[in-house]
């Protein structure tokens, strides 16, 4: 009985996926229009897309841009956020700027950045970078702010320099919060990736999706939606697993993503 329950909990996300696909199938059968293929039709179209060399290259190019943008953003944002969390001056310097940038739709900057940097990889990666960095900075800031002063004092008393304290005390203490920010950032990276490719139709998964929409290839549209959705779910699950490993020592936290700003 216990085992059964454990298995069900384990498989619950999978069951949810199947349930959603089932609802889709039934809805499509009831509505019965050309523009809304059934779930099975859409799934059947997936191998054709993944098997096609050109679209595979497109999707991989998207993933590469996303990885580069995400990596750069994380590398820049975590130190910045931690410094903001630890130093009042730095926080006062950056906070108003970040507050103003926060509600700007990052992907909508794409047309402007395109004018400056062209439609190539650079501008798309830059947009992804911008989209990811804000939540990561914010969460690192919160994490850095919440570090217990006593630990820092002990570190200082034992002769750690300011930089050492930053790396050996503040970074590990803030890690759970930072990783929460990274998780939000990961999903945002995927969203900005799709949107940027939709605006600069040149290559990538978003390009395939919206071109198929324009040409009325509805099977492809829905198959691409499944592929992109699977990417999001897969990346999120993989990240969650890694996060569980990294911060096993921290208290069991809320395992659902908290903010998707």
């Amino acid at each position: 009985m216990m085992l059964l329950r454990a298995v069900v909990t384990r498989l619950a996300p999978l069951l949810a996926c199947l349930g959603l696909l089932g609802i889709w199938q039934v809805a499509a059968l009831i509505l019965d229009t050309d523009s809304f293929p059934t779930a099975l039709d859409a799934i059947r179209a997936i191998p054709a897309i993944l098997g096609d060399k050109e679209s595979l290259i497109n999707i991989l190019a998207s993933l590469r841009r996303m990885a580069i943008g995400f990596g750069l953003a994380v590398m820049v944002s975590i130190p910045l956020g931690l410094m903001m969390g630890r130093s009042r001056g730095v926080a006062a310097f950056f906070n108003p700027l970040l507050m103003i940038i926060y509600p700007v739709p990052k992907a909508a900057l794409m047309p402007i950045i395109m004018l400056w940097l062209g439609v190539g990889d650079v501008s798309k990666t830059l947009v992804i970078f911008l989209g990811v960095s804000l939540p990561v900075i914010y969460h690192s800031f919160e994490g850095g702010k919440a570090v217990e002063e006593k630990m820092l004092w002990s570190g200082a008393a034992m002769g750690l320099s300011a930089a050492q304290r930053m790396i050996r005390i503040v970074l590990p203490a803030a890690l759970p919060e930072i990783l929460t920010g990274c998780r939000t950032g990961l999903v945002l990276a995927l969203i900005t990736m799709v949107t940027s490719e939709m605006i600069a139709r040149q290559s990538g998964a978003g390009n395939i999706l919206f071109n198929a929409l324009d040409m009325g290839q509805y099977d492809t549209v829905f198959a691409m939606i499944i592929i992109i959705g699977a990417m999001g779910i897969g990346l999120d699950a993989a990240f969650e697993k890694m996060r569980g490993r990294l911060v096993k020592w921290s208290e069991p936290r809320f395992d659902l993503p908290l903010s998707f700003s």
């Binding site: 509505l31 509600p103 402007i112 198929a212 959705g229 999120d236 700003s261």
Partner: protein
């Protein structure tokens, strides 16, 4: 005495919300602001409802939790083509997209807030003779209010962003459309106007909601 104070507080608190929604409607009716900003009220009601239900009832929780785990990381923009095909190019598809995007932060924040309510508060209310059905509205909902309002703020800013993107994609009207037309004609200056407008709108709405939040939560410790 306490419950009545809470109820009258809630009633008092409803006034600015109603005013805000009315203002929204008014702005929309005059037709300048993006019409699809309307759905946040819908998303709020849905999000708070599902979030509370999931926090209170284990059965609902068992269903909602895996669904949220699957749907929350899904990029909603990728769903937009499907909504276009199903609902057409009008406001409906945009409103659905915005609602889907704003729903999850609100739902998650509500769930988080409601499941973090201190058990002692609930026990005290029960000991004071509060009927079981009213505990939800008199204890859990007010206690979760800070978290819920934070979720609403995040959802609101997201709706501003998403509505703009949706208007850029279908480009029939709205600020996003202005940006796309400017981009197609290489009018660099004109491209900044809608962008700054939507950002200002986001900032102002964010500020308004922040003010509302601190007004509603003036009795709460450290918010």
């Amino acid at each position: 005495m306490k419950p009545r104070a809470v109820t009258s507080d809630v009633l008092l608190g409803m006034v600015p919300i109603a005013l805000l929604i009315g203002l929204w409607q008014a702005i929309d009716s005059f037709g300048y602001a993006p019409v699809s900003l309307l759905p946040p009220p819908g998303a709020v009601i849905l999000g708070v409802g599902i979030g509370l239900a999931a926090a209170v009832s284990p059965a609902v929780n068992a269903v909602v939790r895996p669904l949220v785990r699957v749907l929350a990381p899904l990029p909603k923009v990728a769903l937009y083509p499907a909504m276009l095909l199903l609902l057409g190019f009008g406001h409906e598809s945009k409103i659905t997209l915005v609602a889907a995007d704003a729903l999850f932060p609100i739902l998650l924040a509500t769930y988080y807030g409601a499941s973090m309510v201190e058990q002692k508060l609930i026990w005290s209310a029960m000991a004071a003779g509060t009927p079981h059905g009213q505990i939800l509205f008199k204890v859990v909902l007010p206690a979760a209010a800070p978290s819920i309002l934070t979720g609403c703020r995040i959802g609101l800013v997201i709706s501003c962003i998403v509505v703009f993107l949706a208007e850029m994609i279908t480009s029939t009207d709205g600020l996003g459309h202005v940006l796309v037309t400017a981009a197609r004609t290489f009018q660099a200056v004109d491209m900044f106007v809608p962008l700054i407008t939507i950002s200002l709108l986001g900032l102002v709405l964010n500020g308004l909601l922040e003010g509302l939040r601190s007004y509603l939560l003036r009795g709460f410790p450290e918010v």
